[in-house]
Symmetry: C2
Subunit: 381 residues, 2 copies
Amino acid sequence: MKFIHTSDWHIGRQLHNQSLLEDQRHVLAQIVELAVTHEVDGVIIAGDIYDRSIPPANAVALLDEVVNRLVNELKIPVIMIAGNHDGHERLGFASRQMRESGLHIIGPLKPTLTPIVLKGKSGDAVFYGLPYADPATVRHLFESDVSTHEQAMVELLQQVHKHDSQGLPKVVISHCFLDGGSESESERPLSIGGADKISPSLFTPFSYTALGHLHGPQFKGEPQVRYSGSILKYSFSEQHQKKSVTLVELTAEGEASIELLPLTAMRDVRIIEGELDTLLEEGKADLNRDDYLMVRLLDKRAILDPMGKLREVYPNVLHLERTGLMANNSQLAIGRDQIKKGELDMFTDFFSQVSGEPMSEAQQAVMVDAIDELHKQERTS
Amino acid sequence: MKFIHTSDWHIGRQLHNQSLLEDQRHVLAQIVELAVTHEVDGVIIAGDIYDRSIPPANAVALLDEVVNRLVNELKIPVIMIAGNHDGHERLGFASRQMRESGLHIIGPLKPTLTPIVLKGKSGDAVFYGLPYADPATVRHLFESDVSTHEQAMVELLQQVHKHDSQGLPKVVISHCFLDGGSESESERPLSIGGADKISPSLFTPFSYTALGHLHGPQFKGEPQVRYSGSILKYSFSEQHQKKSVTLVELTAEGEASIELLPLTAMRDVRIIEGELDTLLEEGKADLNRDDYLMVRLLDKRAILDPMGKLREVYPNVLHLERTGLMANNSQLAIGRDQIKKGELDMFTDFFSQVSGEPMSEAQQAVMVDAIDELHKQERTS
């Protein structure tokens, strides 16, 4: 049994108001190619398929494209569970009608498990998809007395333990937060105050656990209890993460061997730092200048329309931090003279950028008078 | 070939802010029962499945229930097309994965037809589902020069005419507005200014045309070019309509025999009219007093909280018209004395309802003084 484990597609997500749909189409096509190259017996998506419970229509159309390609054209079964971002009812609509085709969508949590047997060229395995569910949902559905995410998971896993897999390896698919897991800035907390953490040891009895929620690829406890991570960097905090999908091969005895298959983004997400002129100069030689960028400008002077200037070279600057100016400001004493000097300096910078020439002494004198006059009016008004 | 033709389910719709979900569940269960009783070979839903492009989650869950029952448990194929209320991409998601199960959802219009052959105990037939599409969509998709709904339909039907049905009867499913059709108040216009009308004669060549959009059951041109009508009364303007689904039986030669199968609403939608005391008295003996009601009150006097009083007897009064008061008001002369008398009358009614006793002459004198005083202030302010 050989399968790809992926999660956190977040189709329809934006990064600083920039649609990522084409970037998502690009990596999803890679996942399809990897599934073909590695001749996998299935693709497992561990939740957060969409970014929102009501995804935009073009996100729905993209997922439709991907499942058509995998399930119908390539005959590779797909199992997906709803994550905390997904609308469970919406995602799960008509899932019973899709099963025969090889598309298994597990939307709302049901009181009974629906184990899915995937046929493998080198042996079969049983997959147990547990959609994201908060403790209140589990308490209501199972009439049990659980109040934490861990207690809820214990309740759900009891069914998996009880199920007779006829000797086949058991794979659990879950969307949850394992204790000790490393967060990025792009996950939405499952609950406030830390009652969302689950001990990795709950999952060690299974041949493999395909997890979703955390956006950095990682395992906890044992290598086979694993997050595949998201398919793209969904925040600048992920700039150093290497995104991948996980290729899992199970022996008939349920031993897992694991390989990370890297994904290459159409545009990387990264942070660059420096003075404006240096960055503009470097940008001309930067082959990846259309990456999604956060720019930290170190200049201490005022700059007219820095975003406009940067975007002439780096078209996808999404966020700008005036690191230099902030450092400067924090050192500013607040005496009246200092502030006045500050205003004059600001205007001098502005003037030279607009006119292309430095201010003459006469011009500066006029400005000092004007600023003084303004302050006088300020004091008397 | 025997099938049920229905349309305009509008799942998730509200009537004057009242959710109709339980009413919809009730009639949809009847449709399932009728399909069983009449041993049909398929159920056709001609658009406006949901009321909105983004239906609420419980509407999605209800449709899921109904298709599970029909397609999976009863093995009755279902064909549905998107109407002008539906979100085409959302409704059409994973439709390729559902086909094998017998669920055929036709979401966005595609450049190529997908004819669907349904197997019938007394002969097969080919169904051509044409989802709702405005002329601009057809123009774009077919690179043709159409500007009216009729021209767009001619373009779409060309494909149906060309398709070789191997001698099987052809059934067209469409969501459109036929010229001469009777509207209710609950349809959303397809376009402003009447360019949405289509000649019924376009459809007469086919064995049957299953239409959606108009909420009253009716045919135009020929009996086999037919609207099934909506499953519930979705406005008070429909109070006298009889809602039904259409049972269609086609001979192998494509001759259609048609029967209307009535639907019984859990609560009827109707208008009652009379004076408050009479209506309250009649309501005690009214076995259907929990119907959804519009009440036209003929009383000419002011009444304190008439909605509250009515709802004690008729729990589902959704709308109240003070017909009597409006008639009274329209007759009011606008002389100062008349208005003053009007105010006194209003207060006298109010007083007697609150206190249970008529106003004494002394009390009336105080009120006349108070009203005079108010008018004096009004004139001087």
